[in-house]
Each structure stands twice: as structure tokens, then as C-alpha cells.
């Protein structure tokens, strides 16, 4: 199968959906001629024109609100938010307006929009350009949240998001834009709420989101050499969350580590670990362990930044402990 980058995959998904549905349009800062600073959207303005690929002023709350209104009245906007950190600026329009409109109207108004943004540290971009803030929006009922872990998922999830009748937030890992993966030429969609078992294993379950899927896979490869077979699962969407697949795996392996690049405390790993504990408690040999980013603002200095996020080595180390029974009675 041909391989394309995550960036190309997003671009293709959007282009295909814009061809299919004339109500789909894009807006955001420098999305047209510049094709975004990451060049993800290059070429779209040439095909669809400046009417459907709209450069906005630097007014995130404003253009997010505009997208909500357009979505409520018959368009299907895709909002490009240049850095995930800027989500703080649009929380009101996203969480008080977009997320609640369908419910508050008793089901009469829909807000079919996609907010695509990014996440991921270790780019030396410091505290306001490196955050992974997907936990925040996952807490708000009415929003769906997708976290592609490769070009394949990026394309399939984006197409599903655009066709969904709800506000969907997609977090792309900005460090993975140039990563290639096999992506079929034929059209495909990835349904929301279906986790993907990336690797089967019987000794421990590694549940990982976005960029952390690679980390988990690397850890699994190392562990396998040591005779520990890890099952790696990518939930793909964290709202809705495919609890069933996760629980089934943990019931089989009796051990789990949840790995995510958001801050650990009050984050995504907490929710997933809680659900496993609640629903697979009597099958667990060891506590479910969480590995999120450190609870610190992302430091600029390379010497510090790199230690804030989970790495394959640290996952391996923790998995070994869990499998060796070392944790027993530690807790």
C-alpha cells in the first residue's frame, strides 16, 4: 500500500470531503496561501478558492463563534486552530455554545463542526505552544474527541468527523506531521468509539493515545525480547470511549498502563484508569498505572523538556515492575 504522511492524510481527507459536500468549508489563520505554518493544508485554496478556504484575522474566539453560527444554520465548518494551546481562548464558544446547543434546544439545532488542532511537546516551543489539552474538552458533554495516532487514523477519523452532526475536536500530534504510514487509495472511514488493538499480547495491556501509541509500540517490542507480551490498544477517540475493548483486554492480561501526553493529574489517564478499575477490578493483579506528562508547564530548555513526557524506556521499566510482581504490596 502507498505510504503518505500524516499531514497529507489530513489534507486528503479534507479535500475529499470538500469535494463531496459543498457545505464544508475551512477557516483559520493562514490556512489559504500559506496552508498553515505546518503546511498541512497546502493546495486546498488552489482547488477550492478563498471562499471555502478562509484566512481569518488572529481572533480565535471570533472565528470559533462564527463557525458555530455557520454550523447551526447549514454549513459544515472545519476550524483550524494553529496550536492546541489556543484552545483556552475559544473555550466559551466551544464548551458553552457548540457543545450545548443541541441539548439546550431540545434536539432542534445541530452544530456539525470540526475543530482541528494539535498537541505535543518536545519541539522547544515552551509553555504556550506545547500543551496537550485534550482532557479539558473531553470533560464537556456534547463534544466528541478524536486523537489520531498515524496517517491512517488521521484520514479516517477526519472524514468521520466532518460527517458527524456534532462538534468534534481532533488533536493532531504536531511532531507526527511528517510521519508516514500506509493509507489506502480507496475511501474509508473510521467509526468513532472503536478502539484499535495495535498489537496482541497476554501479559499486560498498554493503552496509549496519539503520539503515545508509538511509545507503547516501541516499549512492547523491547518487552517482547524479554518475554513479556504487551497488548497495545489505541482508543482512537476518547469521547466516545470504547470501554468494552479496553476492559476485555485488561481482563485477559490482568495488568495495564495508560499512557497519554496530557498532564497526568486530572487528565485522560485518570478517566481510563478509573473505568478499568471500576469494571475489571477483580481481574487485576496489579493497580492500573498511569503515565501522563509531568504536572509542570512545558519548559523551553531541551534539558528539561524531554523528561516531561513518557518515553518507551520508562514504560518498559514500569511494565517490568508490574509483570514481575514487584508492585504487589507496594500499594
Amino acid at each position: 500500500m502507498r505510504e503518505i504522511t500524516l499531514s497529507q492524510a489530513v489534507n486528503e481527507a479534507i479535500a475529499e470531503e470538500m469535494r463531496r459536500d459543498p457545505t464544508v468549508f475551512l477557516l483559520g489563520e493562514d490556512v489559504a496561501e500559506a496552508g498553515t505554518p505546518f503546511k498541512v493544508l497546502s493546495g486546498l485554496v488552489e482547488e477550492f478558492g478563498t471562499e471555502r478556504v478562509i484566512d481569518t484575522p488572529i481572533a480565535e474566539p471570533g472565528f470559533m463563534g462564527i463557525a458555530v453560527g455557520a454550523a447551526m444554520t447549514g454549513s459544515r465548518p472545519i476550524v483550524d486552530l494553529m496550536f492546541g494551546d489556543f484552545i483556552f481562548l475559544i473555550m466559551d464558544q466551544l464548551c458553552n455554545q457548540a457543545a450545548k446547543t443541541h441539548y439546550m434546544s431540545g434536539g432542534k439545532l445541530n452544530v456539525p463542526l470540526v475543530l482541528r488542532t494539535n498537541m505535543g511537546a518536545t519541539r522547544r516551543s515552551a509553555a504556550q505552544h506545547s500543551q496537550s489539552l485534550h482532557a479539558l474538552v473531553s470533560h464537556i458533554p456534547g463534544l466528541k474527541v478524536a486523537m489520531p495516532s498515524s496517517a491512517y487514523e488521521a484520514k479516517g477519523l477526519m472524514k468521520t468527523a466532518i460527517r458527524d452532526n456534532n462538534p468534534v475536536v481532533i488533536f493532531e500530534d504536531k511532531l507526527m506531521y511528517q510521519d508516514k504510514a500506509p493509507v489506502p487509495e480507496e475511501e474509508y472511514l473510521i467509526p468513532f468509539g472503536e478502539a484499535n488493538v495495535k498489537r496482541e499480547g497476554s501479559d499486560i495491556t498498554l493503552i496509549a493515545t496519539s503520539s503515545m501509541v508509538q511509545v507503547a509500540e516501541k516499549a512492547a517490542a523491547i518487552l517482547s525480547n524479554e518475554g513479556i507480551e504487551a497488548e497495545v490498544i489505541d482508543p482512537r477517540t476518547i469521547v466516545p470511549l470504547d470501554e468494552a475493548t479496553l476492559i476485555k483486554s485488561v481482563k485477559k492480561t490482568s495488568r495495564a498502563i495508560v499512557i497519554d501526553e496530557g498532564h497526568q493529574s486530572y487528565g485522560v489517564t485518570s478517566e481510563i484508569a478509573s473505568r478499568l478499575n471500576e469494571k475489571a477490578f477483580y481481574h487485576l493483579d496489579t493497580p492500573v498505572v498511569r503515565m501522563g506528562a509531568m504536572d509542570v508547564p512545558i519548559p523551553f530548555s531541551p534539558a528539561l523538556e524531554d523528561i516531561t513526557v513518557p518515553t518507551p524506556d520508562r514504560v518498559v521499566e514500569m511494565a517490568r515492575k508490574l509483570c514481575s510482581g514487584e508492585m504487589i504490596h507496594a500499594a
Partner: protein, 325 residues
């Protein structure tokens, strides 16, 4: 497109709509005072000429966004009393199945995209509706209602900038009733409100919000120009709210005098003024007007009774409509 409102029928409808708003609010206030309404609500009484003057220049295809003080906009845009009272009481037959209540009442069928409990929260929505019209080649116009207090929200300037850059068919209608909650407008708004719009290259107008014909005439012109691609526009409407900030705001003297209230009610009431005009111009007799009033009152009484007796949504609805299919 809206016809020029120069004939008897149109005038009478404007009167009727203003009277319907006043009557709706009187009944809503009564429901609150008799502890039959859950929560609080914000009365539109006194500002009727604004909503009616503007909405009578619109068609059902045109959209509006409304505010926390939204009953007037809702009635003016064509809503029925029954579904409105049901909504205010949290009943299943309400416009939003009781899930929204007063602060989120919406009436999709007449183009009312909803009240909003975030001050200024709908400015983006209105502008987005106008962008959608432009992108999809429709000639509908969107009116964004908001108060003087809401002009302090930065969102307004963000969306006016984009509306101006992209020539969107949106009209920003600032209902300046002199107060934002318990604070006078001059204490929270520096400079000039219309100049702020003009600074973005938006034509701005100031109009007497107690004169329904003046409001309607201006709006008709601007709606027509919006349809031709000459938007956006900004209107500041001078008006006054008769009640407190909300129904529970009874003792108001610490922030405004009874004399001031009396003056507006007695000398500038939009309904009294327009009624005298209709009679003086021979468009309606006192008797005809009284008959109309009585009919409206009856409609309201029946709707209230209906809503009181109506059933609440079933508890199983609580997690319905979180997501659309």
C-alpha cells in the same frame, strides 16, 4: 423580501406584536411572583419597539440571535405563546422540550437561533449565520441582538472586524437600555458605541428605540442593503427596561430612581405612543385596539393554563440530545 410597512395591516401587526410581548411578560412575571416559574427570568417590557421594529423587517428565512432578555425577540420573530410558556415552565411541549428554559429559548422554525445566557455569546453565532448565507449564496440576513453591557465583550470587535472584511449580511443591534445589571452604561462604556463600529468601517446608526416606525424604517433599509451585499451594519437603539434586571430585582433605587422609571413609562412608552398614532391617523379605533388587546390577553391566559397543566419531560430524556445522530 419584507414589504414596506406602510399599510394598515402592517401597522396593526406591529402594534399587535408589541402588545403580545408586553402581555407575555406580564404573565411571565406573574408566574414568577406566584412561585410557579422555576428560576429567574429577564423581562423585555419597555423595549418592545426594538424587537418588533426590527423583526417586522425580516422574513422567516432571516435569522436572529437573542439574549438573556429574549422573550421579546422570540415573540417578535413569530413564536407562539403556548410553546413559549411551556418552555419557561420546563415542560416537554416547550420549544426546547423544557431543556433550555427562558435563557435558551429558541425557535428554529422562525429563524430564532436562540437566547443566550452568556452576555455577548451569540455575536459569533450571528456573524457565522451571515457567513453561511454568503457562502451558500442565500440572500437572508441575520440580526444580532445584544445589550449595551455586551459591548464590553471583546468578541464583538473580533466578529465586526471579520464581518466588515468579508461584507457579511449581518446587522448588529445594540439595545441600549441604559443599564447592564445594576450599573449605568456610562460607567462601563467609554467613548462612543457607534464610533466603535465605524472604526471597523461599519456604517452605524442611532435610533429612538421607543419609536417602532423609526426602527422599522431604518431596519428595512439596512436589510435591503444587506441583501445586496452592502452589509454589515450597526444600530444602537435607545430604549429602557421597565422591570428590574430580572424578575427578582425589586428594590432598584440604589441604582436608578423611581422618577426615571416613571418618566420612561409615562412619556416614552412605545405601545402607548404607537397606539395614539394609530388612532390619530385613523388606522384603528380605540375599540378595535381594545378588542385586539383582549384577544391577546385571552391567548396568553390560555397558554399559561395550558403550560401549567402540561407534562414535564420524562426522566428518560435527561441524556437524550447530548449528541445528534
Amino acid at each position: 423580501m419584507a414589504k414596506a410597512k406602510t399599510n394598515t395591516e402592517d401597522y396593526l401587526r406591529m402594534y399587535r406584536q408589541m402588545m403580545r410581548i408586553r402581555t407575555f411578560e406580564d404573565n411571565a412575571n406573574q408566574l414568577y411572583l406566584s412561585a410557579k416559574m422555576p428560576g429567574l427570568t429577564h423581562m423585555y417590557s419597555g423595549e418592545e419597539a426594538v424587537a418588533v421594529g426590527i423583526c417586522e423587517a425580516l422574513t422567516d428565512d432571516d435569522r436572529i440571535t437573542s439574549t438573556h432578555r429574549g422573550h421579546g425577540h422570540c415573540v417578535a420573530k413569530g413564536a407562539n405563546f403556548k410553546e413559549m410558556f411551556c418552555e419557561l415552565l420546563g415542560k416537554e411541549e416547550g420549544y426546547c422540550r423544557g431543556k433550555g428554559g427562558s435563557m435558551h429559548i429558541a425557535d428554529q422554525s422562525h429563524g430564532n437561533l436562540g437566547a443566550n445566557a452568556i452576555v455577548g455569546g451569540s455575536m459569533g453565532i450571528a456573524t457565522g449565520s451571515a457567513l453561511r448565507a454568503k457562502l451558500l449564496g442565500k440572500d437572508d440576513v441575520t440580526v444580532c441582538f445584544f445589550g449595551d453591557g455586551a459591548t464590553a465583550q471583546g468578541l464583538l470587535y473580533e466578529v465586526m472586524n471579520m464581518a466588515a472584511l468579508w461584507n457579511l449580511p449581518v446587522i448588529y443591534a445594540c439595545e441600549n437600555n441604559g443599564y447592564s445589571e445594576y450599573t449605568k452604561t456610562e460607567e462601563i462604556a467609554a467613548g462612543s458605541i457607534t464610533a466603535r463600529a465605524e472604526a471597523f468601517g461599519i456604517e452605524a446608526f442611532k435610533v429612538d428605540g421607543q419609536d417602532v416606525l423609526a426602527v422599522n424604517e431604518l431596519t428595512q433599509k439596512l436589510v435591503a442593503r444587506c441583501r445586496k451585499g452592502e452589509g454589515p451594519f450597526f444600530i444602537e437603539l435607545e430604549t429602557y427596561r421597565y422591570h428590574g434586571h430580572h424578575v427578582g430585582d425589586i428594590n432598584r433605587e440604589y441604582y436608578r430612581s423611581k422618577d426615571e422609571e416613571k418618566d420612561w413609562k409615562e412619556n416614552r412608552d412605545p405601545i402607548i405612543r404607537f397606539r395614539s398614532y394609530l388612532v390619530a391617523e385613523g388606522i384603528a379605533t380605540e375599540d378595535e385596539i381594545e378588542a385586539m388587546n383582549a384577544e391577546i390577553e385571552k391567548d396568553a391566559t390560555e397558554a399559561v393554563a395550558y403550560a401549567e397543566a402540561a407534562k414535564y419531560p420524562d426522566v428518560s430524556e435527561v441524556d437524550m440530545h447530548v449528541y445528534a445522530d
